[in-house]
C-alpha cells in the first residue's frame, strides 16, 4: 500500500512533464529530451518507449521519501504558469477571480520564475492545445484536493477506541486472512504472465464483501514489491471501476489517462490504446489492468468489453486483464459469444465467508487487543455467516457493539469487554425489520385501516382490494370501536400516509377511491404487531 501511494504521484508527475514535452515536440522541431534514432517509421513508438524508460530510470534513481507537499508545489508552478499564460485571451476575469479567491495558489504563482524563461515556442504550443480543447478542461489544471484540517485528528487512546478504529472497514490489514488460496492463484497467474511477457484475462466473481478487490490489491502490492526487488520485470498497474464512470466508454479515457496522463475523448482514447496495444515495441512493459464492477461496462454492442478482452490476445500487447463482478455466470448471461470466448475460462469465484473465517478476520483485525468476549465474537460471525457471509457487515456490527459498550462504560464507569448483550443489541438494530415497530407506533386510525385491509382481504380471498371496499370495512370497524365516524378524505389521507412509508402499496393517488391496495408486509406480521399492544 505504502509503496504504491508513493510511487504513483511521482510517475504521474513525470508523465505530465513528458506530456507537455511531447506537445512541444509536435509543434517545434527542437527536441528537448533525447536524440532519436533515425527510424522515421516507428518514430512515435520509439519516442514513447525511450521516454518511459527514461522516466522510470529517473524514478529509480531518486526515490523521494515524501512527495505529498513539496513535489506538488514544485509541480504546480509550471502548471499554473502554463495555465495563466494560455489564459490571457480567454478568461481573464475568471482567472483573476480564482486567483484572488485561492490564496494558496496565488502564493505559488508569485513564486514563479519569470515567464521570459520559457521558450516562446512552448508557450505557443500550450496556447494551441488549450484553445483546441476549449474551456472545459479547467479542472485539469486545478489539483483536486479537499482542504486539510487545522490540526490532525487525535489518535485513539483507550482500548475500545483502538478496537473501533481497527474494526473500521477502511483499515485493510497487510495480508488478508482466509484468502490464501485465492491470493496464491491470482498471484501465480499474474506473475507468470508478467515473466513470460504475454497477456491474458481472468474473471473473478463473488458476492459483495467477500474480499475480491482487497485480494487483488494485495496481489498487486506483493508483485510490486517483487518488481522493486528485481525478481520480476516491472509493470504498470491500472485500475478502473465500472461504477466510478458515467458511461462505459469512459473506460478508455481513464485507462489512457492513467497510463500516459493524456486526456482525450473516448473515441480518440480508444484508437490510441488500440495503437498502443497492437504495435510491437521493444522493452514494452506489461500492463496489469484491473476492471472492477465489470457488469457496468455492458453496452448494446459490447464493444468496450470486446476491446478489453481482445487486446490481451494481441501478440505484442503484454496486457493482463483482471475482471471482477458479482455474479458467477455473468459471461454466459450478458456477453455475446465472441466476447465470452475472449474472456476465456480462467475463472475464480470467491465463496462467502463461513463463521470460522469471519471470526478469524475479526481476530486478526483486533490483533491481540482484548476488547471482545469470545462468545460475542462467535455470535456475530455465526449470525452474519448464516445471512450473507459479508465481511463488511460483520465488521460494522462489531464496531456498533463496541460503540454500545463504550456508552455503557461511560454511563457506569466500569471498564469491561464487549459482551453478548451489546452484540445482541447491535444485531437487533441492524438486522431487525422495522415494519412491526412502525405498525405498533402508528396512530389509531392507521392501525384500524390496516385491520380493515386484512378484513377485506379475508372476505375477498384475494391479496388486493380497492380503497372503496376497504373503506366500508373501516367504517364498520370504527363503529365497533366506538370512534367518531370519519370522512372519506380523512381515511384517504390515512391510506396515503401508510402508502408513503410503504406499509401499503398503492396505485397513483389520482385514482382516488378507485385505487387498489396491497399489503407490503405479510398479514401475520400486521396481526402480530396489532395484537401485542
Amino acid at each position: 500500500m505504502k509503496t504504491r501511494q508513493q510511487g504513483e504521484p511521482l510517475r504521474k508527475l513525470k508523465n505530465f512533464e513528458y506530456g507537455a514535452a511531447q506537445v512541444d515536440h509536435e509543434n517545434a522541431p527542437i527536441l528537448l529530451v533525447a536524440p532519436l534514432p533515425k527510424r522515421s517509421k516507428r518514430k512515435s513508438a520509439q519516442l514513447v518507449s525511450s521516454r518511459i524508460k527514461k522516466q522510470l530510470n529517473l524514478l529509480d534513481e531518486q526515490p523521494k521519501p515524501d512527495l505529498d507537499t513539496e513535489d506538488e508545489e514544485e509541480f504546480v508552478p509550471s502548471n499554473t504558469a502554463l495555465y495563466s499564460s494560455s489564459d490571457d485571451e480567454e478568461m481573464i476575469d475568471g482567472d483573476e477571480g480564482e486567483l484572488a479567491r485561492k490564496g494558496r495558489r496565488r502564493r505559488i504563482t508569485e513564486r514563479l520564475p519569470p515567464r521570459s524563461e520559457k521558450s516562446p515556442s512552448a508557450a505557443r504550443a500550450c496556447r494551441k492545445t488549450r484553445s483546441k480543447k476549449g474551456e472545459s478542461d479547467t479542472p485539469r489544471h486545478g489539483s483536486p484536493t479537499i482542504p486539510s484540517r487545522l490540526m490532525p485528528a487525535p489518535q485513539p487512546n483507550y482500548v475500545l477506541e483502538v478496537a473501533r478504529t481497527r474494526l473500521h472497514v477502511s483499515s485493510v490489514p497487510e495480508s488478508l486472512p482466509c484468502r490464501e488460496q485465492e491470493f496464491q492463484d491470482i498471484y501465480s497467474f499474474v506473475e507468470s504472465k508478467i515473466i513470460d511477457g504475454t497477456g491474458g484475462c481472468m474473471y473473478i466473481s463473488g458476492v459483495p464483501g467477500t474480499g475480491k478487490t482487497a485480494t487483488v490489491h494485495e496481489v498487486i502490492r506483493c508483485l510490486r514489491n517483487a518488481a522493486n526487488a528485481d525478481e520480476i520485470p516491472s509493470f504498470h498497474f491500472v485500475e478502473i471501476n465500472g461504477m466510478k464512470m458515467t458511461d462505459p466508454h469512459q473506460a478508455y479515457v481513464q485507462i489512457l489517462e492513467k497510463l500516459t496522463s493524456q486526456k482525450a475523448t473516448a473515441d480518440h482514447a480508444a484508437s490510441l490504446l488500440e495503437k498502443r496495444f497492437s504495435n510491437p515495441a521493444p522493452r514494452k512493459q506489461t500492463t496489469v489492468l484491473l476492471v472492477d464492477e465489470l457488469d457496468l461496462l455492458w453496452t448494446r454492442k459490447q464493444n468496450v468489453m470486446y476491446n478489453l478482452f481482445d487486446w490481451p490476445t494481441r501478440r505484442h500487447s503484454r496486457l493482463v486483464v483482471l475482471t471482477i463482478a458479482n455474479t458467477m455466470d455473468l459471461p454466459e448471461r450478458i456477453m455475446i459469444n465472441r466476447v465470452a470466448s475472449r474472456l476465456g475460462l480462467t475463472r475464480m469465484s470467491f465463496q462467502p465467508y463461513g463463521y470460522k473465517q469471519l471470526q478469524q478476520i475479526i481476530m486478526s483485525r483486533l490483533n491481540k487487543i482484548k476488547a471482545f468476549e469470545e462468545d460475542a465474537l462467535q455470535l456475530v460471525s455465526r449470525k452474519v455467516a448464516a445471512l450473507s457471509g459479508d465481511a463488511r457487515r460483520c465488521l460494522d456490527i462489531c464496531r456498533r457493539a463496541a460503540e454500545l459498550c463504550e456508552h455503557a462504560v461511560a454511563r457506569t464507569s466500569v471498564a469491561r469487554l464487549v459482551g453478548m448483550d451489546h452484540v445482541m443489541d447491535a444485531l437487533n438494530e441492524m438486522f431487525s425489520s422495522s415494519y412491526i415497530a412502525s405498525i405498533k407506533f402508528a396512530s389509531v386510525q392507521e392501525q384500524l385501516f390496516l385491520r380493515a385491509v386484512i378484513a377485506e382481504f379475508r372476505r375477498l380471498g384475494l391479496e388486493e382490494a380497492t380503497f372503496q371496499q376497504v373503506l366500508i370495512q373501516h367504517q364498520a370497524l370504527c363503529r365497533v370501536e366506538g370512534l367518531q365516524s370519519t370522512g372519506v378524505s380523512e381515511v384517504l389521507a390515512v391510506c396515503q400516509r401508510l402508502g408513503a412509508c410503504r406499509l401499503l402499496l398503492l396505485e397513483t393517488s389520482r385514482l382516488g377511491i378507485l385505487q387498489r391496495i396491497r399489503l407490503n408486509v405479510s398479514q401475520d406480521d400486521v396481526l402480530y404487531a396489532l395484537k401485542s399492544d
Binding site: T138, P144, I146, H168, S170, Y435, G487, V488, I513
Partner: protein, 439 residues
Amino acid sequence: MCQAIMSKRKAKSVRKPISECITQLHKCLRERFCHDQLPSTLEASEAQHKHLLGLLQRTAIHGESNSALIIGPRGSGKTVLLKCVLRDLLKEKEVQKNLLQVHLNGLLQTDDRIALKEITRQLNLENVVGDKVFGSFAENLVFLLEALKKGDRSSTRPILFVLDEFDLFAHHKNQTLLYNLLDVSQSAQAPVAVVGLTCRLDVLELLEKRVKSRFSHRQIHMLSNLSFSQYQERVASQLSLPDDFPDRSFAEDWNSGVQSLCEDKSVEEILRRHFNFSRDFRSLHMLLMLCLSRISPVNPIIKPADVLEASRMCFTDSTSNMLHGLSILELCLVISMKHLNDVYGGEPFNFQMVYNEFKKFLQRKSNSMYNFEQPVVIKAFEHLQQLELIRPVDGSSAKTQREYQLMKLMLDNSQIIEALHKYPQCPTDIKQWGMSAFA
C-alpha cells in the same frame, strides 16, 4: 435593534395596548408553527439524538467515516433531529472550523449530473469559478473522486453529506452517486459521513446489492411513542408564550387561558380525534395555526369554539363539499350513477345508461320540470368529468364516441347521501329519489 426597541418599551410601560400584544403574539407563535423553529431539547427522541450526535462527532473529531439513515414517517421530525444535532455539534469550535457540509435533496438533484455539480459547488473545489462548475459530467466525477481519494483520515477536513429524500437518489441511473459516496465512507480516503433522510421503510431494498453492502446498516428510526397526555402537554407548550415576551401580564393571562382551554372537555375530545388520526406534529401545527388565525383584539383568547371550528376545517371532506356546488341536473346525474352502481354492482357505465336512468326518473316521478334536451345533459356529464367526479375506465378517449365511453364514479355512496342532506334548497322529489334505493 428590535431588542432595543422592545426594552425601551418595557421600560416605558408594563401594560401595553391589547392590539400590540396581539401582534407580538402572532409573530411569536407563527414563527413557531410555520418556520419550524428548532426546539431547545428533543424530549421525544432523546436516544436518536444521542446516537446521531455521537456518530457525527466521531466523524468530525476523529475522522471516522460513517453512514446512517434516518427513517420515519412524514412529519415525524427527521429534519428537526438532524438540525438539532448539527446545532449541538457546531457548538464546538474545533468542529465548526473543520466540518464541511454538503446538503442535497432528492427533489432538487434529480439526476447524478446535477447532484455532482452541486457537491462540487458546495465543497468549493478548484474547478469551480464563481458559482459555475467547469468540465463535463465524467470529468466532474473523476475530479471529485480524485479529490476525495487524496484525503486521509487524520489530516483532511471531514465532510458531511446530507441526502434528503434519500429514496429518490436510489432511482438514479446505476446508483452511481450513492455507490461512490458509500464507497468513500468504507475506504481509507477523506473522512465522510453520509446521512440519508427518508420516509420509506423499504429503502434498503431499493439499493443495489453492492451499494447495500457498502452501507453500514445503521438505521435511526423516528418512531414517536407518545401517549395522549403527552400530546396534550405538547399542545399546551406549543401555544403558551415564552418567558421573554415583552408584556408579562398579557403573557400570564394568555398562558392561563391556554391551560384552561386544554382542560376543557370538548377541546380534549377534539384533540383526541386528531391524536387518533395522526401523531405527527405537522398536522397539529396546522390545527393550532387555524386556531391562532382567529385571534384578534376583539377576540383575544382561544375559545373551545375556535378549536372546534378549526378542527372542522381540517376534517372537511373536499369531495362532498364539491357536490354542494353542482347544479340540480348534475346532481340528478350523480344520483342516477349511484343507482346504476347499486344495481349493477359497480360495473362501469356510459352516458346513455345514465341518461336512460334519468329519463326513467322523469317519467315515473316528476312533472316536466327537469326535462332537459340531450345536449344539455351531455354538457352536464362532461362537466362532471372535468371535475373528476367521474373518470373514463380506459385512457383512450378519442377512439369511442363520448356517449358510449365507459365511466366510473369516483364518489362513495356515503358522500352522495351526505351531500343530499346538505344541498341548499334541494327539491324534495330529488332528495327522495336519491334516498330511495338506499336501503
